[in-house]
Subunit: 382 residues, 2 copies
């Protein structure tokens, strides 16, 4: 496969963007990424988005965003794998480069969730799980996360407070990210006082509903310039598992994440211990723990210990969600996977400010659609 | 770019499939294509679908269809460009092969429209045009097609009956396709008696709402076997235009189709006169005419003559919609582009039965999302 390089990043601060439309959000991120890369055109645009159809009544977002960013008549289309759509856009863009058909391709992840009512958003998000066997029976994502968390507590024998360090570390990292939705930090007491919404899962175990857009520019070796702060996309993989939980052999193993990460490590030729930071899909705190286990940072049932030990903090052995993760930076679902890649790139470029991981060499990002149904993994290399 | 070969096709008859779910439709087409190709696994699945989220409350269809076809834990995801989603799935699958990352990839286009009420379907389809500037103002697709048809009549100076031959030829071809929705043929009188739904557009100028799924298997030169009836994917391109009509310079030129076709001819190294058959996106009869002009089979304003002259019939110079097209085979929107590629492949393999174009060498397919916003073009070669 041809080498792929990441040469530009752009992001809109994650907020409730009531004054910006979906196309305006996308165009802002796109133009920021092109400015960062020093390019004024691209050969193709891949848009990652989940909810534009349901909540914004807009399909065909490839054409919409390419037009808004002034890039017509370039190739442009949308990819969707629920909450993994933003990571998937980067995957498809990398594929477009390695195919040899294009030299410069942009991936844009975008989502606008806050214009709709919360019941409408919850129903739309439930389309990421199995409609016939889960959602239509009333099983929504907080319910799924609560069920998995309860099983984890039962099998591993820890208490729910063991999950709190993952939440507190995310909010600590978010404090120093100007693009994060939540920048005030969080105390253990605040987490403890938050209501249980799907016992034992608390409200503050969940990533927030919000709006955002992020973009990256990828290019081929043929056109990469020495003036660009180019990073190599060492691996870009996807693996799937059953969408419904009931069909899985083990409720506590994210099989798709294991397969996706294993392929990524093999393609990149690196081991988990070489990873400098992990931008994980911490939409719910149990998902952060299962992701750490799936990607080889802990054995099954032992990921929970990385919270109390401090390993996931900025100065720990595997810094997690170094810009706040989905939990504190925010989770505009179809954009989150692209934000992860932007943040990983900033770390490897040494531009992470107060959140900088010193000497970062390999960054791992993992974007998950459904509760592990579709898993997109990237490894970036300085 | 690495060569890509098409080695298997599968299709479900286009019908009102009230007894088959979206996943069952997709799995049937997928298994038929794998059986045809003589493979029992693929490296990746790309699903093309437009309305599953709105009408079926199911996102994340990559994982759903891969699971239903017994292909987990392969890579799988969905692409969407409105009614071009089915062609786009083939485009993305071809890219996955030429990237060198995969050797065998399946594209599945699927759609289930008939479970919903017609108002709900019309609203969902309107997400393919510009929501803010068109759909929210009440502009739906039949309205857009009627407006373009009226402009064509005004500029070209023909009467609406000049469009009838395109409808009648489609239904004549559909008579001999067992997978077509409409197999009874159509008379001029039936077309003339059908109501005007967006004057001068008649009901029978429009492709029908229906259900269907089609799939193709693509593979690399490395794994193609002599036992497979392999066809070369000579070109696979996408180009975009503005999604809203008001921003276009010329209402009668499908700029995205011109760009997409021009790129395809250049990549394939063929000219329009070498094309043996054209599977066009005849969702509305004016769209068939504009597509013929965009792809170089007639000059602007002269495509209409290809109807009366008989050029578009099976024995004409540019056979159009040889299995009935969207008009008679049916238009399950996110599947139609994949059906086109299946039909083109059957022609080139000499398996088109009574619709066979003798000596077919190059087949052109073109799948359009919105009224020309996203255009996917393929050229297949024997």
């Amino acid at each position: 496969m041809k080498d792929v390089f990441l040469v530009g990043v752009g992001q809109v601060p994650v907020r409730e963007h009531w004054k910006l439309s979906l196309r305006e959000l996308g165009a802002r991120a796109a133009i920021a990424a092109m400015t960062d890369a020093g390019v004024d055109r691209v050969d193709a645009v891949v848009v990652g988005n989940m909810l534009g159809s349901r909540l914004g009544h807009q399909d065909n977002l490839g054409s919409v965003i390419a037009d808004a960013a002034g890039l017509l008549p370039c190739e442009a289309w949308r990819v969707e794998a629920a909450c993994a759509s933003g990571g998937l856009a980067v995957r498809a863009a990398a594929m477009a480069i390695s195919s040899g058909g294009h030299d410069t391709v942009m991936a844009v992840g975008l989502e606008k969730m806050t214009d709709a009512g919360s019941a409408e958003v919850t129903a739309a998000l439930a389309a990421a799980c199995d409609h016939e066997y889960e959602a239509a029976q009333g099983f929504t994502f907080p319910g799924i996360a609560g069920l998995v968390m309860r099983r984890y507590l039962h099998e591993v024998g820890c208490g729910p407070e063991a999950f709190a360090p993952f939440v507190l570390a995310a909010h600590e990292h978010g404090r120093r990210n100007t693009c994060a939705l939540y920048r005030k930090g969080m105390t253990l007491a605040e987490w403890q006082e938050s209501p249980k919404i799907a016992s034992p899962l608390r409200l503050l175990d969940c990533a927030p509903v919000c709006d955002g857009a992020a973009a990256v520019i990828l290019c081929s070796e043929r056109v990469v310039r020495s003036s660009q702060k180019a990073l190599r996309v060492a691996a870009s993989t996807v693996a799937c598992d059953t969408i419904d939980l009931a069909s899985r052999k083990d409720l506590l193993t994210l099989g798709g994440a294991v397969d996706s990460a294993t392929r990524a490590y093999r393609i990149a030729g690196v081991k988990s211990k070489q990873i400098s930071l992990f931008e994980a899909h911490d939409a719910f705190s149990p998902l952060a723990v299962l992701s750490l286990e799936a990607c080889g940072f802990a054995r099954r049932g032992e990921g929970i210990r990385l919270g109390a030990s401090g390993a996931i903090r900025r100065d720990g052995s595997i810094p997690l969600g170094t810009f706040g993760g989905l939990k504190a930076r925010g989770h505009p679902v179809g954009a989150s996977g692209t934000y992860q890649v932007v943040e990983a790139a900033l770390q490897l470029r040494g531009e992470a400010g107060e959140n900088q991981i010193v000497g970062a060499k390999y960054a791992l990002t993992q974007s998950i659609g459904g509760y592990g149904a579709t898993v997109v993994t990237h490894i970036l290399e300085v």
